[in-house]
């Protein structure tokens, strides 16, 4: 088999597929996607609910349908997808070591690499829930895979810790399959999922949401028998005397996602402690030239449509890198999160001779009403936008027009929220 490719994409989920299509459409000739699972599509395959694709396809698709659209596009563009293959390492010379059962160890030479490995779930260990270690405790995504792909029901009486979107989706899913979902417990005073999911996953089925509560004990030696929940104070410390016991056999954890950057760390890619993903330029290139990142490996998204859009930029960047369409760079502008902003992507913008407008993607650090988002360059205010509702669970974006980027004086962009 051939081992030389223009662009190699690590990961065949929504980010990888969209990046591959974009790389090919922008002129890269030989494009390869390496996927460890037995099919492409990544986590979309287990997200059987609808609501995907409203931005990109202007219709509501289920996860598998959304994946299928991109698999068809990739097939039409003659993109190679190597399944059942695990990438072990990448190096600065863009050599990829991978392994599968048919070919053994493969060493693939790429001209550009796009990292699209997605993210993984935080586990019980990551949040240190005390108590017994019986069966019946799952991350929400693992339960989703068991139920939706393998066809196993994971429990009958269920408590969900965390109000992230996967937890909310699973509350509805398990209810529809006949389980009693007794409660959804959230340590923050607000939900971390999309409002629409609170409405259509919890409220539709009368599932109570306990805000400012957490689990302080799990009881059950063989299988979970009950959990103890406690109210927390403003510092998220459990309040003594507020304990409630809930009898259940299953506990699902929906307590956050972490970009999966083992390969990135090994090759020396600079990571942002805020996003836990790579620091990227406006074209999604990392600090290692010719290595790009997109999707949840860079920052955790709430919408797959936005993953696809970001991946198109990474694919285009990689194709331009391979075709040596590099434009002379006038300067590099740094972008910083200011007050009430938890992170911003991209962290750096390269200003070239023909400046393009650049979009900033960011999240706020709490729930706010009637806030004003301000983008500044030093003392110069570039943009001011009012937003009626802001929440950490909903990614925001702002476009800086090229006319403003051309006239930067301080080259230090700060985005902040005034409340």
């Amino acid at each position: 088999m051939d081992i030389n490719y223009d662009v190699v994409i690590v990961g065949g989920g929504p980010a990888g597929l969209a990046a591959a299509c974009s790389a090919k459409e922008n002129g890269a000739k030989k494009v390869l996607v390496i996927e460890r699972d037995i099919e492409a599509g990544g986590i979309l395959n287990q997200c059987i609910h609808n609501g995907f694709g409203l931005h990109i396809f202007k219709e509501e698709l289920t996860g598998p349908e959304y994946a299928d659209r991109y698999e068809k596009m990739a097939a039409d563009l003659e993109i190679e997808i190597m399944l059942n293959t695990m990438v072990l390492s990448i190096n600065k010379e863009k050599k990829i070591h991978a392994v599968n059962a048919t070919n053994g160890v493969l060493i693939i030479q790429a001209q550009a690499i796009i990292l699209a490995m997605g993210c993984r779930e935080r586990t019980r260990g990551a949040i240190a829930i005390p108590g017994d270690r019986g069966a019946g405790i799952f991350t929400a995504g693992t339960a989703q895979r068991y139920i939706n792909i393998e066809g196993y029901m994971v429990g009958k009486n269920v408590v969900i810790l965390g109000s992230g979107d996967i937890g909310l989706i699973m509350a509805r899913r398990m209810t529809l399959e006949g389980a009693n979902v007794l409660a959804c417990i959230e340590i923050c005073p607000y939900s971390n999922g999309l409002n629409r999911n609170i409405v259509q996953c919890l409220n539709d089925y009368d599932i109570p949401l306990y805000l400012s509560h957490t689990i302080t004990n799990v009881i059950g030696k063989e299988r979970v028998e009950k959990v103890v929940i406690s109210e927390v104070d403003e510092n998220k410390n459990p309040i003594e005397g507020s304990e409630i016991e809930i009898n259940c056999d299953t506990l699902l954890l929906s307590v956050g996602l972490i970009p999966e950057n083992e390969l990135s760390k090994e090759v020396g890619i600079e990571l942002d402690p805020r996003t836990k993903g790579a620091v990227v330029y406006e074209n999604m290139e990392t600090n290692i030239s010719g290595v790009f990142g997109c999707g949840n490996v860079v920052h955790v998204h709430d919408l797959v449509d936005f993953v696809s859009e970001e991946s198109v930029r990474a694919g285009k960047g990689a194709a331009e890198y391979v075709l040596k369409k590099k434009k002379s760079i006038k300067k590099v502008v740094k972008v910083y999160p200011g007050e009430h902003i938890s992170y911003i992507i991209p962290q750096k913008i390269r200003i070239k001779n023909d400046v393009n407008k650049t979009q900033l993607f960011f999240r706020v650090d709490n729930v706010y009403k009637n806030g004003k988002i301000i983008v500044k360059d030093g003392d110069d205010i570039l943009i001011e936008i009012k937003r009626a509702h802001l929440a950490p669970g909903e990614m925001e974006k702002i476009t800086i027009p090229s006319s403003k980027l051309e006239r930067l004086k301080y080259n230090n962009i700060v985005l902040e929220l005034l409340v």
């Binding site: 037995i38 395959n45 409203l54 289920t62 939706n148 792909i149 393998e150 066809g151 539709d204």
Partner: protein, 114 residues
């Protein structure tokens, strides 16, 4: 005046629906919000998704959805229909598993080629 959150898209607009004024919707950022707002107050509907066992597929289950949104009060009845259904590979996206579910114009259809 009813206050509801629009579930049509992830924006989650805060809608006000005025039952005493022809279900006039305000607070919407797009026209889909008007349709949703009135429907949610007069006849709320949802699209359902689930799985059915499949013989000869790459996995033991295949994913399905209702082709149209169905009345909210029929959700459990519509789910019940899938209980004894088993399908055979190959199936394609859009193939009908059960038609005309519970007297609605909706069908249970396949959402994955398998």
């Amino acid at each position: 005046m009813k206050e509801i959150i629009c579930i049509v898209c992830p924006k989650g607009c805060h809608l006000q629906v005025d039952e005493n004024n022809g279900y006039k919707v305000t607070g919407n950022k797009c026209t889909r919000g008007i349709v949703y707002g009135e429907k949610e107050v007069t006849n709320p509907t949802r699209v359902l998704t689930s799985i059915v066992p499949i013989e000869g597929g790459m996995y033991s289950c295949c994913t399905v959805k209702t082709s149209e949104d169905i009345p909210k009060e029929k959700i459990m009845e519509v789910m019940e229909l899938l209980k004894n259904i088993k399908i055979k590979s190959p199936v394609n996206i859009g193939d009908i598993v059960i038609s005309n579910i519970c007297g609605t114009k909706s069908n249970w259809v396949v959402t994955k080629n398998m």
